[in-house]
Symmetry: C2
Subunit: 347 residues, 2 copies
């Protein structure tokens, strides 16, 4: 048992938000019921899927017969590159602050295979995804300050298309989360002369308790301030600030880290583990970005089984995040999960 098995709060140094940790809540009678989920029966190609190769999308466009990754502009993106000029009409009262937003939204199909999620792809195909992220990051960060690359996985995470895919939303403004991380990392470097996440990586590697996986270039850790039950941070061990700086070695090592992490996730409850994940990179309009360290957050909602998730609701929305399982216990579960995907084991 870790030293943290009492009620306490921890602070997220990237955002300033706190999380309430209540490990004794794990003693609820219904703890630990884990259900095997039925194996998915999707086929490699689905003729009704708008993301499969060759198929027709909502707007009469046909997808190419792609064989690696495939990227297209979101047919109903939340952002458009069109510049609009209505702002002159708007109020200037500080209680009614408003600004225009311009950008682009793209969809990235991870592979032609309708039924293969990231952990089910071989490492070299995950590397194709990493290379695609890098390519679109480089292109879009030339036009926009802030490039968000993310994946919603699983219906419970609002993903309506089972064909494995992620998204890129790029825009001129810094989003709320990037602005918070920008401020925290800048201030930390000003006070300490070193990088916040660089120091954090060193501490976690030295301590070991929350480390899930590491290779030459990447660390996967359940962050000390994790809010979601099995939240992890995937962070570069090198001084890499954004995708544009990734070497091929670092990209290969990243593909390996993603393979291991997503495989272990699926093996926790023997199911396709839902999550939202996404990358945080240095904004591209900074003069100096040495306080930044490129990283991804994985926010998976499952708590006790393939079907019981943590609800971030009343208290969490109105006060702050709350968790039952301590981050250290979650790390132990992820450390002990197998690196062989449960569907492979069944063969």
């Amino acid at each position: 048992m870790s030293q943290f098995e009492f009620t306490h709060r921890r602070k997220n140094p990237l955002t300033g938000n706190w999380v309430l940790v209540s490990p004794h809540r794990n003693n609820r009678p219904w703890l630990g019921a884990t259900e095997k989920s039925t194996p998915s029966n999707l086929s490699e190609y689905d003729k009704t899927c708008p993301l499969c190769p060759g198929n027709q999308r909502a707007n009469d466009v046909h997808n190419p017969t792609y064989d690696k990754t495939f990227v297209f502009t979101n047919d109903f993106g939340a952002l458009t590159s069109q510049t609009e000029v209505h702002l002159a009409q708007l109020e200037t009262n500080p209680l009614f602050e408003i600004e225009q937003a311009t950008g682009e939204c793209r969809v990235i199909c991870f592979s032609p295979k309708h039924n293969k999620t990231l952990p089910e792809l071989p490492v070299n195909e995950i590397k194709d995804v990493v290379d695609t992220w890098k390519q679109h990051y480089i292109e879009l960060s030339g036009k926009y300050a802030c490039v968000h690359i993310f994946e919603n996985k699983g219906a419970v995470m609002g993903c309506s298309q089972p064909h494995p895919h992620g998204q890129v939303w790029a825009h001129n403004h810094l989003s709320t989360e990037i602005q918070l991380e920008e401020t925290s990392q800048r201030e930390y470097q000003q006070h300490n002369g070193s990088s916040l996440l660089g120091d954090y990586v060193d501490h976690e590697i030295a301590n070991g308790e929350r480390v899930v996986y590491q290779n030459d270039h990447w660390l996967v850790v359940v962050p000390f301030w994790a809010a979601w039950p099995f939240e992890t941070l995937l962070v570069s061990k090198d001084d890499v600030r954004h995708f544009g700086q990734l070497t091929d070695d670092q990209s290969n090592a990243l593909a390996e880290a993603i393979k291991v992490l997503t495989t272990r996730y699926d093996n926790v409850f023997n199911c396709s583990f839902p999550y939202s994940m996404g990358w945080h990179c240095a904004p591209s309009d900074l003069e100096n970005d040495s306080h930044w360290r490129m990283h991804a957050h994985f926010y998976p909602p499952l708590l006790r089984s393939a079907t019981v998730k943590k609800h971030m609701v009343g208290y969490e929305m109105l006060a702050e995040s709350q968790r039952d399982l301590s981050p250290e216990t979650a790390a132990k579960i992820l450390q002990n999960a197998s690196d062989t995907h449960y569907t492979e084991g069944n063969k």
Copy 2:
């Protein structure tokens, strides 16, 4: 059509967070599908319900045969009043900030009736709920700085017991949200000499576009910075900072406001409208709380029908909240919703 039908961002002056508004996304082909949900067939008493009068709870305790509201200590609360003293062992590194948390968690059954949600109760029984909130607020704010009174309504909001109830979590520390609102309201008053929410109420009443309902003491408005599709702010029109100051007139008017708002919610999609709602009051340990104005936030997740909700996932978790429906359009829908509950109309 309102003047806001283009892509933009708005800032929440209480938290400093921004929300991305993309009204054109409403043009997606699947917009507007509204499904009638099947009427609930719960009975007034359920012998298996741990919240019904006279029934046994998990820990062998029997509920009294109550006839108004009924309050008990949460059998598995996230906070306990026990003081624990493990903190000496902990690290003092700013990347590993941790502090103890002490408090109490209570459950408030709104009435003995297993099948009556707030909008289905007569105003005088909603007034009993308001009085119960006030009573427990006064007691707990004598012991703790921060008292969170909230309700998770509906299974989609993590509510596992259908018997209508809310919760109170009280603790010594200020939660993340209360700390943000404390700072924003204090700074606004320092700069402007007036109360942030007082000024906001005046502007919204003068403008009218986002006002859903008002009476002598309360305003219901879709806030300019609303993140959830039908989010509302229920705010005192008077200089009231917390439940301890509520007069009986104000409490009666509050019960009426809750009756109207929750009835209109249910009538939007003819279903029991899920939400998380909760009160934000001045922390009880302030020397001067004149910058505070007591208010409740309602965060309902439904977007297009009784079964299609807004998912706050990838982009929202990693960047900032995003909405399709503009706050002004949501306000219009809530303004036009009937004040007669849809189940009454069916009779």
